[in-house]
Protein backbone atom coordinates (compact mmCIF):
# COMPACT_ATOMS: atom_id res chain seq x y z
CA UNK A 1 0.00 0.00 0.00
CA UNK A 2 1.20 3.48 -0.79
CA UNK A 3 1.76 6.09 1.86
CA UNK A 4 -0.04 8.72 -0.18
CA UNK A 5 -3.64 8.72 -1.37
CA UNK A 6 -4.48 7.99 -4.98
CA UNK A 7 -7.66 8.76 -6.91
CA UNK A 8 -8.96 5.34 -5.96
CA UNK A 9 -7.35 4.49 -2.62
CA UNK A 10 -6.52 6.01 0.73
CA UNK A 11 -2.82 5.79 1.52
CA UNK A 12 -1.44 4.26 4.70
CA UNK A 13 -0.92 7.68 6.35
CA UNK A 14 -4.58 8.70 5.91
CA UNK A 15 -5.82 5.33 7.13
CA UNK A 16 -3.60 5.19 10.22
CA UNK A 17 -4.44 8.77 11.19
CA UNK A 18 -8.16 8.16 10.66
CA UNK A 19 -8.27 5.20 13.03
CA UNK A 20 -5.86 6.67 15.56
CA UNK A 21 -8.05 9.74 15.80
CA UNK A 22 -11.21 7.63 16.00
CA UNK A 23 -9.73 5.83 19.02
CA UNK A 24 -8.49 9.06 20.54
CA UNK A 25 -11.82 10.85 20.13
CA UNK A 26 -13.88 8.08 21.70
CA UNK A 27 -11.23 7.66 24.42
CA UNK A 28 -11.08 11.37 25.17
CA UNK A 29 -14.86 11.60 25.39
CA UNK A 30 -15.13 8.63 27.75
CA UNK A 31 -12.19 9.84 29.83
CA UNK A 32 -13.67 13.33 30.00
CA UNK A 33 -16.96 12.04 31.34
CA UNK A 34 -15.22 9.68 33.75
CA UNK A 35 -12.75 12.16 35.19
CA UNK A 36 -15.32 14.89 35.88
CA UNK A 37 -17.26 12.47 38.07
CA UNK A 38 -14.33 11.31 40.19
CA UNK A 39 -14.17 11.64 43.95
CA UNK A 40 -11.40 13.89 45.30
CA UNK A 41 -9.59 10.96 46.91
CA UNK A 42 -9.76 8.76 43.84
CA UNK A 43 -6.24 7.81 42.65
CA UNK A 44 -7.25 8.97 39.15
CA UNK A 45 -8.50 12.38 40.30
CA UNK A 46 -5.27 14.10 39.29
CA UNK A 47 -3.93 11.60 36.73
CA UNK A 48 -7.02 11.28 34.53
CA UNK A 49 -7.20 15.03 33.68
CA UNK A 50 -3.43 15.05 33.04
CA UNK A 51 -3.87 12.23 30.51
CA UNK A 52 -6.96 13.88 29.01
CA UNK A 53 -5.13 17.18 28.46
CA UNK A 54 -2.07 15.44 27.00
CA UNK A 55 -4.09 13.25 24.63
CA UNK A 56 -6.17 16.28 23.66
CA UNK A 57 -3.05 18.15 22.56
CA UNK A 58 -1.87 15.10 20.59
CA UNK A 59 -5.32 14.85 18.97
CA UNK A 60 -5.04 18.51 17.92
CA UNK A 61 -1.58 17.99 16.44
CA UNK A 62 -2.84 14.96 14.50
CA UNK A 63 -5.82 16.99 13.30
CA UNK A 64 -3.59 19.78 11.99
CA UNK A 65 -1.34 17.27 10.24
CA UNK A 66 -4.38 15.49 8.83
CA UNK A 67 -5.84 18.68 7.35
CA UNK A 68 -2.51 19.51 5.74
CA UNK A 69 -2.11 15.94 4.45
CA UNK A 70 -5.61 16.09 3.01
CA UNK A 71 -4.72 19.24 1.08
CA UNK A 72 -1.57 17.82 -0.49
CA UNK A 73 -3.10 14.46 -1.46
CA UNK A 74 -5.62 13.39 -4.10
CA UNK A 75 -9.11 12.78 -2.80
CA UNK A 76 -10.24 9.21 -3.57
CA UNK A 77 -13.55 9.18 -5.38
CA UNK A 78 -16.54 7.56 -3.67
CA UNK A 79 -17.03 3.84 -4.26
CA UNK A 80 -20.78 3.74 -3.93
CA UNK A 81 -23.82 4.36 -6.08
CA UNK A 82 -25.18 7.19 -3.95
CA UNK A 83 -26.42 10.33 -5.69
CA UNK A 84 -24.08 13.30 -5.87
CA UNK A 85 -26.14 15.19 -3.30
CA UNK A 86 -25.36 12.56 -0.65
CA UNK A 87 -21.66 12.87 -1.41
CA UNK A 88 -21.99 16.60 -0.84
CA UNK A 89 -23.77 16.01 2.48
CA UNK A 90 -21.06 13.56 3.53
CA UNK A 91 -18.40 16.13 2.67
CA UNK A 92 -20.21 18.75 4.74
CA UNK A 93 -20.42 16.36 7.69
CA UNK A 94 -16.70 15.58 7.38
CA UNK A 95 -15.93 19.31 7.34
CA UNK A 96 -18.15 19.82 10.38
CA UNK A 97 -16.37 16.98 12.21
CA UNK A 98 -13.02 18.65 11.58
CA UNK A 99 -14.35 22.02 12.69
CA UNK A 100 -15.90 20.55 15.85
CA UNK A 101 -12.66 18.75 16.70
CA UNK A 102 -10.74 21.98 16.33
CA UNK A 103 -13.12 24.07 18.45
CA UNK A 104 -13.36 21.35 21.12
CA UNK A 105 -9.57 21.15 21.35
CA UNK A 106 -9.30 24.93 21.45
CA UNK A 107 -11.95 25.29 24.17
CA UNK A 108 -10.27 22.57 26.24
CA UNK A 109 -6.99 24.38 25.85
CA UNK A 110 -8.65 27.61 26.99
CA UNK A 111 -10.02 25.98 30.16
CA UNK A 112 -6.61 24.77 31.22
CA UNK A 113 -4.69 27.89 30.23
CA UNK A 114 -7.20 30.45 31.55
CA UNK A 115 -4.86 31.41 34.37
CA UNK A 116 -1.70 31.59 32.28
CA UNK A 117 -0.49 28.10 33.11
CA UNK A 118 0.60 25.95 30.18
CA UNK A 119 -0.39 22.35 29.49
CA UNK A 120 2.18 19.65 30.20
CA UNK A 121 1.95 16.90 27.60
CA UNK A 122 3.09 13.68 29.33
CA UNK A 123 6.11 15.50 30.84
CA UNK A 124 7.30 15.62 27.26
CA UNK A 125 6.70 19.23 26.27
CA UNK A 126 4.61 22.13 27.49
CA UNK A 127 2.10 24.04 25.43
CA UNK A 128 2.21 27.59 26.78
CA UNK A 129 -0.85 29.73 27.46
CA UNK A 130 -0.97 31.96 24.40
CA UNK A 131 -4.16 33.96 24.73
CA UNK A 132 -5.03 36.65 27.24
CA UNK A 133 -7.89 35.44 29.40
CA UNK A 134 -11.06 37.23 30.32
CA UNK A 135 -13.29 37.04 33.37
CA UNK A 136 -14.49 33.45 33.98
CA UNK A 137 -13.14 32.30 30.63
CA UNK A 138 -12.72 28.79 32.04
CA UNK A 139 -16.48 28.53 32.64
CA UNK A 140 -17.50 29.63 29.15
CA UNK A 141 -14.82 27.45 27.55
CA UNK A 142 -16.04 24.54 29.71
CA UNK A 143 -19.64 24.91 28.49
CA UNK A 144 -18.51 25.04 24.87
CA UNK A 145 -16.17 22.08 25.38
CA UNK A 146 -18.93 19.89 26.81
CA UNK A 147 -21.76 20.80 24.43
CA UNK A 148 -19.60 20.46 21.32
CA UNK A 149 -18.08 17.20 22.54
CA UNK A 150 -21.53 15.67 22.87
CA UNK A 151 -22.43 17.03 19.41
CA UNK A 152 -19.25 15.54 17.98
CA UNK A 153 -19.90 12.12 19.45
CA UNK A 154 -23.44 12.08 18.03
CA UNK A 155 -22.14 13.09 14.58
CA UNK A 156 -19.27 10.62 14.75
CA UNK A 157 -21.79 7.94 15.66
CA UNK A 158 -23.83 8.83 12.56
CA UNK A 159 -20.59 8.76 10.54
CA UNK A 160 -19.94 5.24 11.84
CA UNK A 161 -23.51 4.11 11.17
CA UNK A 162 -23.25 5.49 7.63
CA UNK A 163 -20.08 3.43 7.12
CA UNK A 164 -21.88 0.31 8.37
CA UNK A 165 -24.79 1.05 6.05
CA UNK A 166 -22.38 1.19 3.11
CA UNK A 167 -20.91 -2.13 4.14
CA UNK A 168 -23.94 -4.19 5.13
CA UNK A 169 -26.83 -2.62 3.25
CA UNK A 170 -25.33 -1.06 0.14
CA UNK A 171 -22.64 -3.74 0.15
CA UNK A 172 -20.03 -1.39 -1.31
CA UNK A 173 -16.34 -0.96 -0.44
CA UNK A 174 -16.53 2.38 1.40
CA UNK A 175 -15.68 0.87 4.79
CA UNK A 176 -13.25 -1.75 3.46
CA UNK A 177 -11.28 0.96 1.69
CA UNK A 178 -10.77 2.85 4.97
CA UNK A 179 -9.61 -0.46 6.48
CA UNK A 180 -6.90 -0.73 3.83
CA UNK A 181 -8.52 -3.17 1.42
CA UNK A 182 -7.32 -2.67 -2.15
CA UNK A 183 -10.08 -4.68 -3.72
CA UNK A 184 -11.52 -2.98 -6.75
CA UNK A 185 -15.15 -2.01 -7.15
CA UNK A 186 -15.47 -4.17 -10.23
CA UNK A 187 -16.94 -7.24 -8.61
Amino acid sequence: MNLRNSDKQFGLVSIVIHWMMALLIVGLFALGLYMTGLDYYDPWYKTAPDIHRSLGVIMLLLLIFRLVWRQVNPKPTPVDNDPEILHKVAEWIHGLLYLLLFVIALSGYLISTADGRGIDVFNWFTVPALFPSFENMEDLAGEVHFVLAVTLIVLAGLHGLAALKHHFIDRDLTLMRMLGSTRSLDR
Binding site: A114, D115, N136, E138
Partner: protein, 193 residues
Protein backbone atom coordinates in the same frame (compact mmCIF):
# COMPACT_ATOMS: atom_id res chain seq x y z
CA UNK B 1 -29.98 67.92 96.77
CA UNK B 2 -32.06 65.94 94.33
CA UNK B 3 -32.58 68.86 91.97
CA UNK B 4 -28.88 69.36 91.56
CA UNK B 5 -28.67 65.90 90.00
CA UNK B 6 -31.70 66.29 87.83
CA UNK B 7 -30.26 68.64 85.26
CA UNK B 8 -27.08 66.62 84.49
CA UNK B 9 -29.17 63.46 84.48
CA UNK B 10 -31.54 64.94 81.96
CA UNK B 11 -28.65 66.18 79.89
CA UNK B 12 -27.02 62.76 80.05
CA UNK B 13 -30.19 60.98 79.01
CA UNK B 14 -30.63 63.32 76.06
CA UNK B 15 -27.10 62.48 74.98
CA UNK B 16 -27.82 58.79 75.44
CA UNK B 17 -31.04 58.91 73.43
CA UNK B 18 -29.49 60.95 70.66
CA UNK B 19 -26.33 58.85 70.57
CA UNK B 20 -27.45 56.32 67.91
CA UNK B 21 -28.29 59.21 65.63
CA UNK B 22 -24.63 60.20 65.58
CA UNK B 23 -23.59 56.79 64.17
CA UNK B 24 -21.61 57.27 61.00
CA UNK B 25 -22.23 55.35 57.86
CA UNK B 26 -19.32 53.94 55.93
CA UNK B 27 -19.06 52.44 52.48
CA UNK B 28 -16.59 49.58 52.29
CA UNK B 29 -13.80 50.64 49.97
CA UNK B 30 -14.01 47.86 47.41
CA UNK B 31 -13.52 50.39 44.63
CA UNK B 32 -10.00 51.13 45.80
CA UNK B 33 -9.62 47.48 46.90
CA UNK B 34 -8.87 48.29 50.52
CA UNK B 35 -11.09 45.42 51.49
CA UNK B 36 -10.60 41.68 51.25
CA UNK B 37 -12.64 38.55 51.75
CA UNK B 38 -10.27 35.63 51.95
CA UNK B 39 -10.57 32.03 52.93
CA UNK B 40 -8.14 29.32 53.80
CA UNK B 41 -8.77 25.59 53.75
CA UNK B 42 -6.45 22.72 54.46
CA UNK B 43 -5.26 20.68 51.51
CA UNK B 44 -5.11 17.04 52.64
CA UNK B 45 -3.82 18.25 55.99
CA UNK B 46 -0.43 19.00 54.44
CA UNK B 47 -0.85 22.55 53.22
CA UNK B 48 -3.27 25.37 52.61
CA UNK B 49 -5.32 26.59 49.73
CA UNK B 50 -5.93 30.31 50.04
CA UNK B 51 -8.57 32.02 47.98
CA UNK B 52 -10.62 35.16 47.92
CA UNK B 53 -13.71 36.75 46.47
CA UNK B 54 -12.83 39.61 44.17
CA UNK B 55 -16.30 41.07 43.71
CA UNK B 56 -18.24 42.22 46.75
CA UNK B 57 -19.72 45.36 48.22
CA UNK B 58 -20.91 46.44 51.59
CA UNK B 59 -21.40 49.13 54.16
CA UNK B 60 -21.34 49.52 57.90
CA UNK B 61 -22.33 52.02 60.51
CA UNK B 62 -20.29 52.67 63.60
CA UNK B 63 -20.64 54.98 66.55
CA UNK B 64 -17.68 55.30 68.87
CA UNK B 65 -19.93 56.21 71.78
CA UNK B 66 -22.18 53.22 71.18
CA UNK B 67 -20.33 50.44 69.37
CA UNK B 68 -23.09 47.94 70.21
CA UNK B 69 -25.29 49.68 67.63
CA UNK B 70 -22.85 48.91 64.83
CA UNK B 71 -24.29 47.33 61.75
CA UNK B 72 -22.62 45.63 58.82
CA UNK B 73 -23.94 44.23 55.60
CA UNK B 74 -21.90 42.70 52.81
CA UNK B 75 -22.91 41.11 49.51
CA UNK B 76 -20.46 38.85 47.70
CA UNK B 77 -20.60 37.59 44.14
CA UNK B 78 -19.57 33.92 44.45
CA UNK B 79 -18.64 33.77 40.76
CA UNK B 80 -15.67 35.98 41.59
CA UNK B 81 -13.98 33.23 43.62
CA UNK B 82 -10.26 33.25 42.91
CA UNK B 83 -7.81 30.65 44.16
CA UNK B 84 -5.20 31.46 41.51
CA UNK B 85 -6.01 28.36 39.48
CA UNK B 86 -8.65 28.56 36.73
CA UNK B 87 -9.56 24.87 36.74
CA UNK B 88 -9.99 24.87 40.52
CA UNK B 89 -12.05 28.08 40.40
CA UNK B 90 -14.27 26.49 37.77
CA UNK B 91 -14.75 23.56 40.13
CA UNK B 92 -15.43 25.86 43.08
CA UNK B 93 -18.24 27.53 41.08
CA UNK B 94 -19.77 24.17 40.15
CA UNK B 95 -22.45 22.19 41.96
CA UNK B 96 -19.77 20.46 44.05
CA UNK B 97 -19.17 23.70 45.92
CA UNK B 98 -20.80 27.11 45.47
CA UNK B 99 -23.27 26.23 42.68
CA UNK B 100 -23.20 29.82 41.49
CA UNK B 101 -25.84 29.26 38.78
CA UNK B 102 -28.42 28.76 41.46
CA UNK B 103 -26.99 30.68 44.41
CA UNK B 104 -25.86 33.91 42.85
CA UNK B 105 -25.10 35.87 46.00
CA UNK B 106 -23.49 35.36 49.37
CA UNK B 107 -24.76 37.83 51.94
CA UNK B 108 -23.87 38.76 55.48
CA UNK B 109 -26.11 40.93 57.63
CA UNK B 110 -25.06 41.62 61.19
CA UNK B 111 -27.38 41.02 64.08
CA UNK B 112 -25.23 42.14 67.00
CA UNK B 113 -21.89 43.70 67.82
CA UNK B 114 -20.48 43.03 71.25
CA UNK B 115 -17.58 45.26 72.22
CA UNK B 116 -15.05 43.33 74.31
CA UNK B 117 -12.78 46.32 74.92
CA UNK B 118 -9.21 46.82 73.75
CA UNK B 119 -10.51 47.15 70.16
CA UNK B 120 -11.83 43.59 70.18
CA UNK B 121 -15.39 42.62 69.50
CA UNK B 122 -17.63 39.77 68.48
CA UNK B 123 -19.80 40.43 65.47
CA UNK B 124 -22.73 38.11 64.94
CA UNK B 125 -24.82 37.97 61.85
CA UNK B 126 -26.70 35.91 59.33
CA UNK B 127 -24.57 34.47 56.59
CA UNK B 128 -26.32 33.18 53.49
CA UNK B 129 -24.01 30.88 51.58
CA UNK B 130 -24.99 28.19 49.07
CA UNK B 131 -28.61 29.13 49.73
CA UNK B 132 -28.35 28.28 53.43
CA UNK B 133 -28.66 30.99 56.08
CA UNK B 134 -26.88 30.47 59.37
CA UNK B 135 -25.86 32.65 62.25
CA UNK B 136 -22.10 33.07 62.45
CA UNK B 137 -19.85 34.93 64.87
CA UNK B 138 -16.73 36.76 63.77
CA UNK B 139 -13.93 37.75 66.08
CA UNK B 140 -13.39 41.35 65.14
CA UNK B 141 -10.56 43.78 65.70
CA UNK B 142 -11.12 47.46 65.22
CA UNK B 143 -7.90 48.43 63.50
CA UNK B 144 -8.12 52.18 63.39
CA UNK B 145 -9.82 55.27 62.08
CA UNK B 146 -8.92 58.75 60.98
CA UNK B 147 -8.56 61.14 58.14
CA UNK B 148 -7.02 59.92 54.94
CA UNK B 149 -4.69 62.17 52.89
CA UNK B 150 -7.37 62.80 50.24
CA UNK B 151 -10.07 64.52 52.24
CA UNK B 152 -11.96 61.48 53.45
CA UNK B 153 -12.39 59.72 56.75
CA UNK B 154 -11.73 56.01 57.04
CA UNK B 155 -12.29 53.26 59.55
CA UNK B 156 -11.06 49.71 59.31
CA UNK B 157 -11.81 46.34 60.84
CA UNK B 158 -10.65 42.81 60.45
CA UNK B 159 -12.55 39.70 61.35
CA UNK B 160 -12.06 35.96 61.37
CA UNK B 161 -14.38 33.02 61.69
CA UNK B 162 -14.55 29.34 60.89
CA UNK B 163 -17.24 27.76 58.75
CA UNK B 164 -18.02 24.09 58.29
CA UNK B 165 -18.76 23.35 54.63
CA UNK B 166 -21.39 20.78 55.54
CA UNK B 167 -23.36 23.29 57.63
CA UNK B 168 -24.02 25.22 54.46
CA UNK B 169 -24.91 22.14 52.45
CA UNK B 170 -21.77 22.23 50.33
CA UNK B 171 -21.60 18.62 49.17
CA UNK B 172 -17.94 18.13 48.20
CA UNK B 173 -15.99 16.03 50.68
CA UNK B 174 -12.36 17.09 50.64
CA UNK B 175 -11.39 14.76 53.44
CA UNK B 176 -11.19 14.92 57.22
CA UNK B 177 -8.64 17.74 57.33
CA UNK B 178 -10.66 19.97 55.04
CA UNK B 179 -14.14 20.14 56.47
CA UNK B 180 -13.67 23.60 57.95
CA UNK B 181 -12.86 26.81 56.23
CA UNK B 182 -11.15 29.74 57.87
CA UNK B 183 -12.40 33.10 56.76
CA UNK B 184 -10.45 36.32 57.02
CA UNK B 185 -12.13 39.61 56.24
CA UNK B 186 -10.43 42.95 56.21
CA UNK B 187 -12.46 46.03 55.40
CA UNK B 188 -11.80 49.71 55.27
CA UNK B 189 -14.86 51.96 55.17
CA UNK B 190 -15.01 55.51 53.84
CA UNK B 191 -17.39 57.71 55.81
CA UNK B 192 -20.38 58.88 53.81
CA UNK B 193 -20.69 62.63 53.63
Amino acid sequence: MKKRFLVPLLAASIVAISAPVSADDYVIDTKGAHAFVQFKISHLGYGWVIGRFNDFSGSFSYDETNPAASKVSVTINPTSVDSNHAERDKHLRSKDFLKVDEFSTITFNSTSYEDKGDNKAVLKGDLTLHGVTKSVALDVTHIGAGKDPWGGYRRGFEGTTKLTLKDFGIPMDLGPASRELEVFVSVEGIKKK
